[in-house]
Symmetry: C2
Subunit: 172 residues, 2 copies
C-alpha cells in the first residue's frame, strides 16, 4: 500500500492538454525525494516487474519511473520512443491514445537480447500505448509479463482493453 | 574515472537524425545494469550535482539519467519539457540546437521551491539546451551550479558557449 501523501501530491489540471481531459500531474512527486523513493520501491515490488528480464520504458514520463526502477532493481531497460528519436534497425506500430494518435519505435537489437518484458509507464488511461508495445512483442514471440503503472484511471477501462496483467499503485 | 566499457557501449550512428550528424546512442548502457550503475554513481559524484538543491532534467534523455541520479542522491528533480507537455503556470525560452530549434518549458511553482540547480542531460553538443535553461534561471534570479552530462562533444565547443561550469563523464 502506498501512503496517502503520494496520492495527495498528484495534481489535477482540468482541460489539459485538451478540453474534457483532466491531466494528472505527477511532477510534485519528484520534487519530494522521500515520496519519489516510496513510489520507486513500491513499484519495484510489483510481481510483473520482478518476473521480467527487462523493463520497457515508454517515452517520456515512463523514462522517469523506469529509470529509477531499473537502477533500484539492477534490471536492463530498453526504450519505446516516439518517431525520429531512436537510431538503428527499428520495429514500430501506431496506436490511438486518450487524445490523438502516435507511434512507438523500439530497437530490434535491444529486444533480441531479452526474453521477457515489463512495460513501465506513469499512467494507464485507455491502454493504447501499452497495447502498441504488447503487439510489437507478440509479433516477435517475446513474453510480456504485463504493464506496471503509477496511476490507473479506472473509468477509462484500459485494463479490459489490454490482454495483459496490470499492476497499478494508485487508482482514480 | 569511468571504465573503458562505458565508452565502448556508446554506439555511433552516422547521418542520424540528419546528414552530417553522428548520433551517439547511449541505449546500450541501460541494457547493461552494471554499466548503468557505474554511470549514475559517477555522475552523482560530480561537484555540480552535489552542490545543487535540485536537479533539472532535460526532456527526454535527460530524464533517464536525472531520475536515477535524483533517486540515488535523494535530491528533488524538476523537468524542462518540450512544448505542450507540462500543465500549469509555465516559464519558457526557445533555443537553437545542433539540428533545428525548439523551446523548453518549466513549471514556475517547481522552480520557486528551490534556490540552486544542476542541469542534467545526456550530451553536451553546442550547449543550446542548457543555455536556454540557464537563461530561464537567470531571469528568475536562481543560482545555477552548472551542467552535468554523460557525454561532451569537445569539437562543438559547447563549454565555451555556456557561461556555467560543466562536468562531463566521457568526452569524444
Amino acid at each position: 500500500m502506498i501512503s496517502i501523501t503520494i496520492k495527495n501530491l498528484i495534481t489535477d489540471y482540468p482541460d489539459f492538454p485538451k478540453e474534457g481531459i483532466i491531466f494528472k500531474d505527477i511532477s510534485p512527486i519528484f520534487q519530494n525525494p522521500e515520496a519519489f523513493k516510496e513510489v520507486v520501491k513500491s513499484m519495484a515490488n510489483m510481481p510483473i516487474l520482478k518476473k521480467a528480464d527487462a523493463i520497457i520504458a515508454i517515452d517520456a514520463r515512463g523514462f522517469i519511473l523506469g529509470s529509477a526502477i531499473s537502477f533500484f532493481l539492477t534490471k536492463p531497460m530498453i526504450f519505446a520512443r516516439k518517431p525520429g528519436k531512436l537510431p538503428g534497425d527499428l520495429i514500430s506500430k501506431s496506436y490511438n491514445l486518450e487524445y490523438g494518435s502516435n507511434s512507438l519505435y523500439l530497437q530490434k537489437n535491444a529486444l533480441k537480447k531479452f526474453e521477457s518484458f515489463a512495460i513501465v509507464d506513469d499512467l494507464l488511461a485507455t491502454g493504447g500505448t501499452a497495447k502498441c508495445v504488447f503487439e510489437i512483442l507478440k509479433d516477435l514471440n517475446k513474453k510480456i509479463e504485463g504493464l506496471s503503472v503509477l496511476i490507473e484511471l479506472k473509468e477509462l477501462n484500459g485494463r479490459a482493453n489490454l490482454k495483459i496483467p496490470v499492476d497499478s499503485l494508485i487508482t482514480f
